[in-house]
């Protein structure tokens, strides 16, 4: 009887794994089949010459180049805001916060993690409306606002991963530096954070993916269908997920639909590229922090 149960559980695990991987490959194969034909230089730059577009001499209006740039800027901007705050928050919760405040903060961040992205977007929109009342005509939905809202969206992940990484460090390693005369800050910066950098970077990778794919937040805070290459933090911009969403609901012919699938492939490749970059940084960073 026990053996039968064990066999069933093993079989179920295998099937689950197979389904998951099959789903992933079906998705990728479908995307490639539908969109591969559209992937050519024209998809990126339209009628503009690629060199002119890359040098920012001429704007691209019928290609994906501005959307790719917009998505990259979104990711960089929101990460620049979210990483310092998230890691600092995690360090505070794990190392400094004591007593009754801790469960309260934990609950708060759990609630924040559960807020749907559309609500975060609405909050950003509301902020612009309120600000607009005080500075009429000067505040409008823009790249910076989107970055702030996306940062707010991913902050709980970063705080939690940093906190969990720090709290799961072996007590012996935790005691090593203080026993040698390290202050609490020295212990955190020279031993505890380097020790947990792998877990923290994993959290950052997840958060980056979330920033790259989120549509609801940016839809309400500044993304538009046509804006050209983002020139300012205070201007509107294009982004890949919004482009995909827009094309899927508004396409006029099979060519445009294929472009939408092409954009989906590009977004996927962008995420894979960022993941590879993050893993590379993870390796370099660990040795840099620990062996300097």
């Amino acid at each position: 009887m026990r053996k039968l149960v064990e066999t069933c559980i093993t079989a179920f695990s295998w099937i689950a794994l197979f389904l998951l991987i099959a789903a992933l490959f079906t998705l990728i194969a479908y995307l490639v089949q539908k969109g591969a034909s559209s992937i050519e230089l024209g998809l990126f730059f339209g009628d503009t010459s690629p060199l002119d577009a890359l040098m920012l001499k001429r704007q691209v209006f019928d290609g994906l180049f501005p959307a790719i740039a917009g998505t990259l800027f979104l990711i960089i901007g929101s990460m620049l805001i979210a990483i310092p705050i998230g890691v600092a928050g995690g360090v505070y919760l794990a190392e400094y916060c004591r007593g009754k405040m801790k469960p309260l903060f934990n609950l708060t961040f759990d609630i924040l993690a559960g807020v749907p992205s559309i609500v975060v977007g609405l909050a950003g929109l509301l902020l612009t409306i309120v600000l607009n009342r005080h500075f009429p005509g000067q505040i409008a939905p823009c790249l910076l606002l989107s970055c702030c809202c996306l940062a707010l969206l991913v902050l709980p992940y970063l705080i939690r991963t940093t906190q969990t990484a720090l709290e799961s460090i072996d007590p012996l390693i935790r005691k090593t530096a203080p026993a040698l005369g390290a202050s609490r800050l020295q212990n955190i910066t020279q031993v505890l954070l380097p020790h947990s950098i792998n877990d923290i970077v994993s959290g950052i990778i997840l958060a980056t993916g979330r920033c790259a794919e989120d549509t609801a937040v940016i839809m309400l805070t500044g993304v538009v269908a046509t804006a050209g290459f983002p020139r300012s933090l205070f201007g509107q911009y294009e982004a890949l997920p919004f482009y995909i969403y827009y094309i899927s609901s508004q396409y006029t012919g099979p060519d445009e639909l294929a472009q939408g699938f092409g954009a989906a492939i590009i977004l996927l490749l962008l995420c894979i590229g960022l993941l590879a970059l993050a893993l590379w940084i993870q390796r370099r960073f660990t040795s840099f922090l620990l062996f300097r």
Binding site: L180, G181, A182, Q186, V191, L290
Partner: protein, 239 residues
């Protein structure tokens, strides 16, 4: 207060609490200078806690509380180590500690030894490399590692790692060395090497060692403190 230069550490009705639990009860001890004092007792009797009371390391653990006093003869002065004015980091540089498991940090051998110096903001490179060499010589590790000081310290054998940790604790020339079962994760040969080292360190510092091994205590300890249910009894031995 009687100031006796032969007494290195004195505790006065020291009590230790972990949340509501009383781990140590009313401990009053006098530990002699330049001797090895062994602390024994069953698991969970508070031996390691007693050690941590001497370098205030328990302050890093949530839920710990202490009452009573600990006086230590530091820089030739009888000092209350729990006096609010006493900087705890200074105390921990004077009172080194070695743990049961070797705990080299994931960096090179020389950087491990130099780590406490860096924590103390010492940046003179010559001074650092001299201190690293001197420390490694003190624990007879220099000859074994002098050609690979830049290798990862975690690649050393268990016994070598423990000697490395001992060298790291010695690099700031502490006056007191606390050892929490320093040989229990090592094989007999490596243990013998550590024991020999501890004997040779007696001239420079006062050693307080938690140990489970009766034969080890017989071999190297000058004094034997038994902890049972948070209370102490002392066996004097003729060294």
């Amino acid at each position: 207060m009687i100031v006796n230069t032969n007494i290195k550490i004195q505790t006065h009705s020291l009590c230790f609490y972990y949340y509501k639990q009383k781990v140590l009860r009313d401990i009053s001890l006098q530990l002699p200078a330049n001797k090895i004092t062994a602390i024994t007792g069953p698991s969970g009797s508070g031996k390691s806690t007693l050690l941590m009371a001497f370098n205030r390391l328990w302050e890093e653990i949530e839920g710990c509380k202490i009452s009573g006093n600990v006086f230590m003869n530091l820089n030739g002065q009888n000092t209350n180590i729990y006096a609010p004015a006493l900087p705890v980091l200074e105390l921990r540089r004077k009172v080194g500690m070695v743990f049961q498991q070797p705990n080299p940090l994931p960096m090179s051998i020389s950087k491990n030894i130099a780590f406490p110096l860096r924590l103390a903001h010492i940046s003179n490179k010559n001074l650092i490399s001299d201190s690293v060499e001197a420390s490694l010589r003190k624990v007879s590790l220099w000859e074994e590692v002098k050609d690979r000081l830049n290798d990862d310290a975690r690649l050393l054998s268990g016994g070598q790692q423990q000697r490395l940790c001992l060298a790291r604790a010695l690099v700031l020339s502490p006056e007191v060395l606390l050892l929490d079962e320093p040989t229990s994760s090592l094989d007999p040969e490596a243990s013998a090497a550590i024991e020999e080292l501890l004997l040779s360190l007696k001239t420079k510092c006062t050693l307080v060692m938690v140990s489970h091994y009766q034969d080890q205590i017989q071999r190297i300890a000058d004094r034997h403190v038994k902890v049972l249910n948070g209370q102490c009894s002392i066996n004097h031995r003729q060294a």
